[in-house]
Assembly symmetry: C2
Homo-oligomer: 492 residues x 2
């Protein structure tokens, strides 16, 4: 992630600006934030809490040390000593122009400037800036810390290098930058979103459906496809083997049917506003915005992980971000050794989808915990991507689990790991899983691993670099007592 600056400046700390703060901070970048609203710090704190919670579920890899958040008193201060200034002020052209002019006058000429505007033209936004060539639109989507898309749109005076520098920056914090081919109002996403939104308003206005029913039509139907393939590739499938042109020719005439009222916008009378607000309250069913945000984030994380297993769309973005995180994982140091005690290399929070119908963690997830603890030990002894890439690896051949207590969603657990024995081809490990801060084990795992030559598909001797680290670990732990539950057999 060499593209990452050490520090960014944010202008505006609302839903979008606060979301940017969370994304940068959790990716290890310091944030200087200017927002005249006295409520902004409270607001950003809440978003940051949401983001921490979501990222703990999104990846099992350790995040980099969180960046520091500083509130500053002026746009100028936010622009000094940073690599990027991201403006997320309310959608008023004059306000944004004023902020960008002030901040750009204070910033060095190399600082990239980007606006989160959802539709204002970059050529207008950059008009009063110092060094307007380093300005682009970078339009993200709520929640900014989870949704990967950021639309890049260059203005008349934007240099191509600015767009590519901004894209690299956004990619480094796990986003999917997409550059428009030319400048238009509303960019791509908001033109699509507004089209849907206007039609949705008419359907409610005309009492064809309530707001909850319109949402259900989306989320039980086409919305499920949109997350995967968008609209063109989805329709290609409707055309069958004949392809896209056949689909267009076949269904093209329906485009001219008078199904839509899109040319008009329903008038926002008091009665209509009351209707939408009343139906929306009923739909929310007493859930607060904070509760709804967490529900949304949990489902977003689950969908992102589902798409990652399939190698589809936004799942690819998450996978690329995780590869970047992996590079940041420091080789465990002697500091993680608790004297000569068991190694504390692994800790994680129990995600909500690990729970069975009883409310406990599902039986099989204990092996997930133990397997991840074993992976942490393997990284520790030098089985890294280079070692695996060269064909060396350890495979588990035998496992003995003792289930000693129940775990619940949100519990934070850790493993204490002991090497019970080793030889040229084998590792004999023992993990004790406890809740962080407690001593009572909730599970233990005993494991035999065999070193393999993955290409040849058979057991093979461990190679020197790893061998030395295993030897050093065995020496360090030689004085530890044998765990009570080691060597158990199952019997009545």
């Amino acid at each position: 992630m060499s593209e990452l600056p050490l520090r960014v400046g944010l202008l505006g700390g609302g839903v979008i600006g606060g979301g940017w703060a969370a994304r940068f901070l959790l990716n290890g970048v310091d944030v200087k934030l200017y927002d005249p609203d006295p409520e902004a710090p409270r607001h950003v704190d809440r978003l940051l809490d949401n983001a921490r919670r979501a990222y703990a579920k999104l990846t099992v890899l350790p995040l980099p040390p969180e960046g520091s958040l500083t509130f500053v008193a002026s746009p100028e201060e936010a622009a000094v000593d940073v690599g990027l200034v991201q403006e997320s002020a309310p959608e008023r052209l004059e306000l944004k122009q004023r902020l960008l002019a002030a901040a750009s006058a204070a910033a060095g000429p190399d600082v990239v400037f980007s606006s989160s505007t959802s539709g204002l033209r970059p050529s207008l936004l950059q008009a009063q800036m110092a060094h307007p060539e380093r300005f682009t639109v970078g339009h993200p989507f709520n929640p900014v810390y989870l949704l990967p898309l950021v639309e890049l749109c260059a203005g008349e005076r934007t240099s191509p290098e600015t767009v590519s520098r901004a894209a690299a920056l956004y990619r480094a914090v796990g986003m999917h930058p997409l550059a428009l081919r030319h400048e238009i109002d509303g960019f791509i996403a908001d033109r699509l979103l507004e089209a849907l939104w206007r039609e949705a308003l008419w359907l409610v206005h005309d009492d064809v459906a309530t707001v909850a029913e319109v949402d259900d039509v989306v989320r039980y139907g086409a919305g499920l496809r949109w997350a995967i393939m968008g609209t063109f590739l989805t329709y290609r499938l409707a055309g069958g083997e004949a392809g896209m042109r056949a689909f267009m020719e076949h269904f093209g005439p329906a485009l001219a049917l008078p199904w839509t009222k899109l040319v008009d916008v329903p008038e926002l009378t008091t009665e209509f506003l009351d209707k939408v607000a009343r139906q929306s309250d009923a739909q929310a069913g007493g859930r607060t915005v904070a509760e709804l945000e967490r529900e949304r984030d949990d489902s977003l994380v689950a969908i992102l992980q589902a798409l990652r297993t399939q190698g589809t769309g936004a799942g690819l973005t998450v996978a690329a971000w995780e590869r970047g995180l992996l590079d940041l994982v420091p080789a465990p140091s002697a500091a993680s050794l608790d004297g000569d005690g068991p190694l504390a290399l692994y800790s994680r929070e129990i995600p909500p989808d690990w729970i069975d119908y009883n409310g406990h963690v599902t039986e099989s997830r204990y092996l997930d915990l133990l397997g991840e603890a074993t992976d942490a030990l393997l990284r520790y002894i030098g089985v890294d991507s280079a070692y695996v890439g060269s064909g060396g690896s350890y495979y588990t051949v035998e496992t003995h689990i003792s289930h000693l207590g129940q775990l619940y969603a949100g519990d934070r657990v850790q493993a204490a790991t002991q090497l019970l024995g080793w030889d040229d081809k084998r590792l004999h490990l023992f993990h004790v899983i406890t809740r962080v801060g407690e001593d009572t084990p909730v599970a233990t795992g005993e494991h035999m691993l065999v070193h393999v030559d993955a290409a040849a598909g058979r057991a093979s001797p461990v190679r020197d670099g790893v061998r030395w680290r295993v030897d050093a670990l065995a020496t360090a732990q030689a004085g530890l007592p044998r765990p009570k539950r080691a060597g158990r057999r199952i019997t009545l």
Copy 2:
């Protein structure tokens, strides 16, 4: 699933009609299908294969015995001796009216008729029918066997009872029926979809983005939210604590911005058709429609499962469908006993998302297999929902796994299960996992389970009904040799 008829008649076997056939057949309903296209049987077969593959991943529960598929020579034959006739002919009013008139004249007056039309008014479709009061629109979405939504729209002469009967029927095959509050062209979904589609065509027409870029804007951005919350609830969150009315008042003015070209439709000139087809070919990158369908289905299944773990939207529909399947699971009979040998109660296909970066099944998934095999044994000895509901259950306290071979996506595996011992409070089990049709074990699992009173949270004696079945099983298996790997301890 008492609402399910034994047999349905389908008029039309294209992408939609074939999808209906697959959904009904896999839910155990016989299908009579009329389609004059000689290619229809091949087409339906392909969709049925897709659906079988998807359902094997969607649930670990056994499906009911597949219904039988019969092609019939006339619409009249499709309407005789069935509970529902579903019409999915091409979108031409006269054709649909003619098919519905012919079929309804042959059908008993109680047969429900439903049309898959994506936008034609039910009042026009029912005009020439016998007993038009039993007609409704039931508009599904591709792929019909996976997407839950079906829009119900009554015509002027439709009886309310028809709509509720159709809704119950669709619910019984795992769908989410949603009834419009009054009749309009295009219903709800296609008005929303067409709005998005027209705007998308303009963006491509004007070279703002390619078709792949428009799709990426959807699937890396708002499409991820749409699967969860639709459009109104999503925007409620943008309004923050102030609520929906505040959001509308704040963002309402943007509705009037000239961002859209929706009033017009781009002319489908040869040049424009060529452009869309060329870009779509590039996007598909050589993948055939069949390949794209499978990618889409795999991702849909993964998203449906993700939403089920969160209790969100379409995940709730899948959960309700599974509860219905559970009621259909027959109590295992003596027939599943292979003489006095180990019990063959459990078999499943390895889904693609069980695979690690090496292409093998992830280590922890072996405990999923063994846990599911244990669950099958528990159902067999009478630990059913009534027993669990009354507070009795078995918890696993110790597990010993031997990993003896690799498994890959698509492998079908089975467990052979042996009771090694039992007493009032304990069960000692041994599973051997093999590929179906092979003898070499890929894994074995040895397990100690303790009977608990879940409410009291402590071990308790097994109750009589289950005790008797355990006793009978122990007697039947008394002569079996002890498995070679039973009682192992891990040691170097």
